[in-house]
């Protein structure tokens, strides 16, 4: 081996095996990826910051360890990149906001630490919608990211940089965060596997909060096996996160291999047909979804109808709760202790100018909305009521899982759209989250997997989502692997790369 193109086409799992077996050195792999980043970034803008020195040093350490006969971690030598929402000690972390521009964290977050301990090589930090608020990566004071499948189109959001980088082979694996679909939606728009684990499965320590009760970190990968490999490294209790779960971490790769060999016998896949009749579902998306159901049936699954009676209230519930928590979580950005401070005469003016200058329009919009719903006079009608509807939504899923093992739906109602096309209509963008939000509200694991492409040009990826009961990541990964084993979409290269080749 050795040709850069070959290295870049290996899965993360394949790379780890090749490096462990000595067929590839971690250093040559890191160099191949750094060259790819250099070549593509001018048109992609997936990276907020590239860390070549760090990457090469970590890669050299992996190579040294291998030569010394030391045991290598499960991700040894695999080049990864982190959404800029993840705190990285000594490496600027902004959460996509001007208010944190230049902030160098003095501590290491759980994700960067676990990845480093597993031997991963950090290529850099990936762009995102500011504080995770957005569906297109256009809510940013920096350059918006472009979709490698159609550069004029959005890569999705808020983990758009992560999706673009993985799809463009600018990293082997990336971490995203998902509050209402921010891993799954960009994965579906970029032909990737995106996994949002059960709430609490992965620590939130060192993941800059957007909406604490909904946020969850997860992997974005080209193949199901890569997502499983990463989840195995990330999952587990963390004493620094009181909401992290201490359930044992199962062997996710075994579940993938079992699913890939065809083991979906008898699994019941639930479909809430009513959701497919809602306004705004793209015809190609619907067709690809039905085709995926057929594929799952081919793998031995049985499709059953289920009802989610409060499905159409999920978006409204989400935008009350997520903005309430966001308005609270973002109160700390006041220019006093870190980050941007606008000069002003009085303390009050310092606060107001700092927050005016530091936050972008979507963040301000959500802070205002969140402040509104938490005010004493609107609390009961808005926040309190939404928390009750959230209970009903969680109960809907619990009841549905009495009838089925997994729930399938499209990931996003539409494929990618041209940059700038929807930026002025926040509500229309919020409604695009309708399929993904339920899993966040109910704390359930969910995965988006490649399901084909649009029929007309530009050829845009489409994803399908599977949702499981709490801690059912093995079942999700198994079903995703069974689906993946029956198609080749995950092996396709975006136009951007074909053009380069």
């Amino acid at each position: 081996m050795g040709a850069a193109g070959d290295i870049l086409e290996l899965s993360a799992r394949g790379l780890a095996a090749a490096i462990r077996g000595g067929e590839l050195s971690a250093s040559e792999v890191a160099r191949a990826y750094l060259e790819q980043i250099d070549a593509l970034e001018p048109s992609l803008h997936a990276y907020r910051r590239v860390t070549p020195e760090l990457a090469l040093a970590q890669a050299a350490a992996v190579d040294d360890a291998r030569r010394a006969g030391q045991a290598l971690g499960p991700l040894a030598g695999v080049p990864v990149a982190l959404k800029d929402i993840f705190v990285t000690e000594g490496v600027e972390t902004t959460s996509g906001s001007a208010i944190l521009a230049g902030w160098i964290p003095p501590y290491q977050g759980a994700h960067a630490r676990r990845l480093a301990e597993a031997g991963a090589v950090l290529l850099g930090k990936l762009t995102m919608d500011e504080f995770g608020m957005g569906s297109a990566n256009e809510n940013t004071p920096f350059e918006p990211v472009h979709n490698p499948w159609a550069l004029s189109h959005v890569a999705g959001g808020s983990s758009g940089g992560s999706a673009a980088a993985v799809a463009a082979r600018s990293c082997a694996l990336a971490l995203g965060s998902d509050t209402g679909g921010s891993i799954r939606q960009p994965a579906s728009l970029c032909n990737l596997v995106g996994l949002k684990p059960t709430y609490g499965r992965v620590s939130r320590h060192g993941m800059i909060a957007f909406a604490s009760s909904l946020d969850q970190a997860g992997p974005m990968a080209r193949e199901v096996g890569d997502a499983a490999l990463a989840l195995g490294v990330l999952a587990g209790a963390d004493p620094l996160d009181a909401t992290s779960l201490d359930a044992p971490v199962p062997d996710y790769l075994a579940a993938v291999d079992q699913g890939a060999r065809g083991g979906l016998d008898g699994a019941k896949i639930g479909v809430h047909r009513g959701a497919l009749e809602l306004e705004g579902l793209d015809a190609d998306v619907r067709a690809r979804f039905e085709a995926s159901l057929t594929r799952l049936e081919d793998a031995g699954a049985r499709v059953v109808d289920i009802e989610l009676p409060h499905f159409e209230h999920a978006v409204a519930t989400y935008y009350v709760l997520a903005t309430a928590e966001a308005s609270s979580n973002l109160a700390r950005y006041d220019g006093v202790r870190y980050g941007h401070r606008s000069a002003a005469d009085s303390l009050r003016q310092t606060y107001e100018a700092t927050r005016h200058d530091g936050f972008g329009p979507e963040v301000k919009r959500r802070i205002l909305l969140g402040t509104f719903v938490l005010r004493a006079e609107s609390y009961a009608d808005y926040y309190g009521r939404a928390m009750k509807v959230r209970t009903l939504i969680a109960r809907d899923y619990a009841r549905a899982f009495e009838r089925c093992d997994l729930i399938a739906s499209p990931t996003a109602p539409i494929p990618s759209w041209p940059l700038g096309a929807k930026i002025d209509d926040p509500l229309a963008l919020y409604l695009l989250d309708m399929f993904t939000i339920g899993a966040n509200l109910a704390g359930l694991p969910a995965i988006s997997i490649p399901a084909g492409f649009t029929s007309a040009a530009p050829r845009l990826p489409i994803g399908v989502q599977l949702i499981g009961p709490r801690l059912a990541e093995p079942a999700l990964l198994g079903a995703a692997a069974a689906h993946e084993a029956r198609c080749d979409w995950h092996r396709e290269q975006p136009q951007l790369l074909e053009a380069r080749a």
């Binding site: 700390r332 006041d334 609390y379």
Partner: protein, 493 residues
């Protein structure tokens, strides 16, 4: 301070800092004072990505307080965020408990001064609730800057909220003292008002006697000493009474107290009050305190001051002495440990509150560091009570044990031959000897100068190195004088 036209109604909100090694929600060292911003960590500064993880010991401390005060402990309570922007509040919100605190109800007993015939009568001041929260940092103001120290930020607090059941500034101070004593008994807080580990806000209102409705209340903030607590409440009562006398309404306000002018002044009115936008803290699971935890905490609770005061009075002590002995748990425990014979309770009390506390104060030591063990003091008191030691010599022996705790009182007595001489013949012999040695004074005495009697007792005590039983000396002196008078009368006849 009677304001006869109005009934004074006071409720207190007391913040008490829990004594823990680390802060409420992060594993950051937590101690008072020191260089600014030396006890801070990523969470304390509110750095992005940090999360609160509650301190089990802080919760356990809070639980004990709730149990001794008879609160109802909630099996499930919630953390909540309270929002306001202030430089000493690192996250823009304080984590506290709002609509679901961990403890509700309960009461604190204070002395009932109205019951003049019973010095141990108490009045129950019912509590509304107790909740846990994290403290803010501290701001100082200088030149063009305000400067913030976050050492205190995140320190664990309990807030004890009383119902408006206090009726005077004196009662408010009594309530604070009882609460301070209780938390110190529990060992859960230093509870020092000067150091800020015990702080108080007072809600004060007035109403016409007999009125059912409460008057409009004002809250006096940051009362940081017992003196200011009483003075501030009195000043606020005066202010409100003046308003009402003039027929003007009291406006619900937050007040501060100016000790220089002995006046309260309005900081802000209710209209300007913030909307704190409370909501359940999503970064932590609800707090669960199960029956097993409650039982374990219950099993380790100390006995409280009021029951102990009653026990001490039953032993024959005065209410005053009982109050002194129970002011600190260490002292009450010391007394209990030293009390080997209930009939000696009064004597033991006198020794503890007299000589022992004098020695401790002189050496600037607390009861916990007392070199004299309770057993040694009990032995000493026993020696006095059974007549082996005179009180005067016993003081000397106590001094010596205090200096060298390896010695026991009995050993010192034996070593130095300090047993009290109660042999009447021996004492009479000493008296005769002294009388013979001082003919001049004898003549004065016999001439009727009775004052000189003391001189002879003193001489005998000196001759016996303090060991002579003073009562026997008096008796022997009287006998010898009678003999001499009789003899002289015979001569003159």
């Amino acid at each position: 301070m009677p304001i006869p036209d109005y009934e004074v109604v006071i409720g207190l909100e007391v913040h008490c800092q829990l004594a823990t090694a680390t802060k409420m929600f992060s594993a950051c060292a937590c101690s008072i004072g020191g260089e600014p911003n030396t006890r801070i960590d990523a969470y304390t500064l509110g750095l992005p990505g940090t999360l609160p993880v509650p301190n089990r010991v802080a919760v356990d401390h809070a639980l004990r307080l709730a149990l001794v005060l008879g609160c109802e402990v909630q099996p499930l309570s919630r953390w909540a965020r309270k929002h306001y922007f202030y430089p000493d509040l690192p996250k823009g919100y304080q984590i506290t408990q709002s609509d679901q605190p961990y403890a509700t109800g309960g009461a604190i007993e204070i002395p009932d001064h109205a019951a003049a015939d019973d010095p141990l009568a108490t009045k129950r001041i019912p509590l509304q609730r107790i909740h846990m929260e994290e403290d803010a940092g501290k701001s100082t103001h200088t030149g063009e800057h305000s400067l913030v120290d976050y050492n205190r930020a995140g320190a664990p607090l309990v807030e004890i909220v009383s119902l408006p059941a206090l009726r005077s500034a004196a009662e408010a101070a009594d309530y604070m003292r009882e609460l301070r004593t209780i938390v110190r008994y529990l060992g859960i807080s230093e509870a020092n008002m000067e150091e800020g580990t015990l702080r108080c806000d007072a809600n004060v209102s007035l109403r016409a006697w007999g009125a059912a409705e409460l008057g409009t209340r004002c809250e006096i903030k940051n009362l940081n000493s017992f003196k200011f607590l009483e003075a501030a409440i009195q000043a606020e009562v005066r202010r409100q009474a003046d308003l009402l006398d003039r027929g003007e309404p009291v406006v619900q306000s937050t007040m501060s107290y100016d000790p220089g002018r002995d006046q309260t002044k309005v900081m802000r009115t209710k209209e300007a009050a913030a909307d704190y936008r409370y909501f359940p803290e999503p970064d932590m699971p609800p707090l669960r305190i199960d029956a097993a935890w409650i039982a374990a905490a219950q099993a380790e609770l100390p006995r409280l001051p009021w029951p102990r005061r009653r026990e001490l009075v039953a032993l024959g002590l005065t209410a005053y002495d009982a109050g002194v002995l129970t002011a600190e748990r260490e002292l009450a425990d010391y007394f209990d440990a030293a009390l080997d014979d209930p009939s000696r309770a009064k004597a033991l009390c006198n020794w503890i509150t007299g000589e022992l506390l004098k020695l401790l104060n002189a050496s600037e030591r607390g009861v916990a560091d007392c070199p004299v063990t309770p057993a040694a003091l009990a032995e000493l008191v026993g020696l006095v009570e059974d007549g082996t030691l005179s009180g005067r010599v016993a003081k000397v022996v106590l001094d010596e044990v205090f200096r060298d705790p390896s010695l026991s009182p009995r050993a010192i007595v034996e070593r130095d031959g300090l047993r009290q001489v109660s042999d009447a013949d021996a004492i009479t012999a000493m008296v005769r000897e002294v009388v013979e040695q001082h003919p001049e004074q004898l003549a004065q005495l016999l001439a009727g100068k009775d004052k000189v009697r003391g001189f002879f007792v003193g001489q005998v005590m000196r001759a016996s190195q303090g060991r002579a039983n003073p009562q026997l000396v008096q008796r022997a002196l009287a006998t010898v004088l009678d003999e001499l008078r009789a003899a002289r009368g015979e001569v003159e006849d």
